[in-house]
Amino acid sequence: MQHMSKFWVILTHTYMSRLKTKSFIISTIITLLFILGLANIQSIMEFFSDESADKIAVIDESELLWEPLMMNAEAVGEDLQLIEFTGDEESGKAAVEKEDYKALVVLTLNDNQLPEATYYANNISDMGNQMFIEQQLQQLKVAMATQQSGIDQETLADINEPVVFQTIALDETAKSMEELNEARGIVYVMLFVLYFTVMAYGQMIMTDVANEKSSRVMEILVSSAPAVTHMFAKILGIALLGLTQVGTFILVGYLLISSKQGELVGGIFEYLGFQDISPSVYIYAIVFFLLGYLLYATLAAMLGSLVRRVEDAGQMMMPLIFLVMIAFFIAMYGLNVPDSTLINVTSYIPFFSPMIMFMRVGMLDVPAWEIVLSIGILVATIILIAVIGARVYKGGVLMYGRSSSWKDFKRAMTLSKKES
């Protein structure tokens, strides 16, 4: 009972003292601004783009192409204005140089009586206008060429129609193409969230522990409450902090999106496939996310207790970052080939399984026993690391000094051991 109340004291302290730090508040605000910016990206881009449409001068030497080109352009309604230029080519170029026009297009007919064009502009890095005019001319050319060879409009429509190509999985339990795309969306999101979480909050746990150790306050702490209580209160305190932060982001993001419904939401959500995913995938997402967090957080706390100075925390963080990155890249690769051997094997390896087994569950129909086995191995590893971590933690927090190395791991273990 007493341990429980101390657990809450440490947890609350971890949560509150982190919540109040400037760095936490600032990073939350910056991310919120980023989300706000993302949601309003269209208005922002419109704000920065030129208000008036680009004016493009056209000299039609064929005296045939101007009319249809202009009509096509108007029908498409692109953000540019074609103007017939009456002067000669040289004065047209001069007008472009004076920036009266954005560009000059000279239209001619070649030997086959098909359209050709030359495009003059001060710089040709802005691809938008060029491509638009090129496309319009291409259409014009196709129309003229087919007309010349006597093909009627119906035949032309048949030629242009895309081929019918359907993909159907014969295994009835396999996921359909649409389902796969949907799953890919949520797997993407989950991978990113887990990656981000482990990086950000793992780092937080580690620096917190390292801070308490280097400021020497740890010895008082472990004399008041057991190291294990301390370690897990810290891990869960930071987890709650993470939930608060991510929760804020999601809430703000959701509010923004629902206030702009129709404008962009439908598109993104449909693309990511959040609409009709089976609830089991969400449950797996939560299970694997929590287990993944616990695994990496425990590891981070253990490594943090070995650090002697806060500056060394970064060095200790490296192996952890590598593990997450490897897991992340394997999972990314697996999104395209979810049934490869590599993915199969790594979905049982504890440091990778939270990401990769979840990806498999989302993308394929994995037999239940495989999922249970993977989760079982994961849980066993977490318990193992927690037991080792608690011992290293207990010994590690009593070691002070200048150096910091992997030798300390062994020392910490023997320090907390009865026989040595």
Binding site: K6, H13, R216, E219, I220, V222, S223, L398, S420
Partner: protein, 299 residues
Amino acid sequence: MALILKQVTKRYGKETAVDHLSLEIPEREMFGFLGGNGAGKTTTFRMILGLLDMTEGEITWNGESINYGKSHLIGYLPEERGLYPKLTVKEQIIYLGKLRGMKKQKIVQELENWLERFKVTEYMNKRVEELSKGNQQKIQFISAVIHNPNLLILDEPFSGLDPVNVEMLKSAVVDLKEQGTSIVFSSHRMEHVEELCEHLCILHKGSPVVKGSLREIKRSFGKKNLLIHADTSLEFLQKVPGVIQYKKVADGCELQIENEDVSQQIFSELQGKGFVRKFELEEPSLNDIFIEKVGAAYE
């Protein structure tokens, strides 16, 4: 009813930090641990607190082993001082007090009393990193005693303090003892232990070289110091039987003698030799005892 250490041993690999240490630390008294760096004081404290497991032996307090269930009864001032630099004194002590099972209101009340006692009430809402080292140490001390523990372990409580603050802390420690707290403290300053402790133990390389009550230790040591100030030369006293050591000082000499009786012999030898301004028989200092037992100067 006491803190009892039985054959306590701690080995790190081949190194023996504490070697078969047996002690009985009485209740409601002050017990002093003396010893240089690496003598095993901090290791012993950590084993008493359960921060380190002992290799062999047993430690009991009032017949029971010490565990985290009793942490609200125990106060600890570690040798490696440490507080959260970014937290204010108030936040800090509230957190550490809560970990010792106190309620917030009670903590604030006690903290106010202690700050007043140490004449630093203005630090209540200051961040620890803004305080001087001496004042940080006061806060550290408050964190160890805020819950009014029954057993208080102080690892080098007076090191790094100026004389005024040493006195302030000493009187606080003495008051706690008067109120019934059992106090164990370590020091490498012999005079602090001599002044404050009824019982003590001198550790050398993990083993106790001297232990017991201060009075008993001094009495059983037998040898005394004799201080004589006189106008004449006192060198002839070296030849008096029972004089172990002769040391010339400005106004006369300091002698170490085998026992009290030798002083009477010397007293009569001095008759008619000239004007004697001071003749003082002193108890041996702990330092003398330490040098004698360990065979080397202490500091």
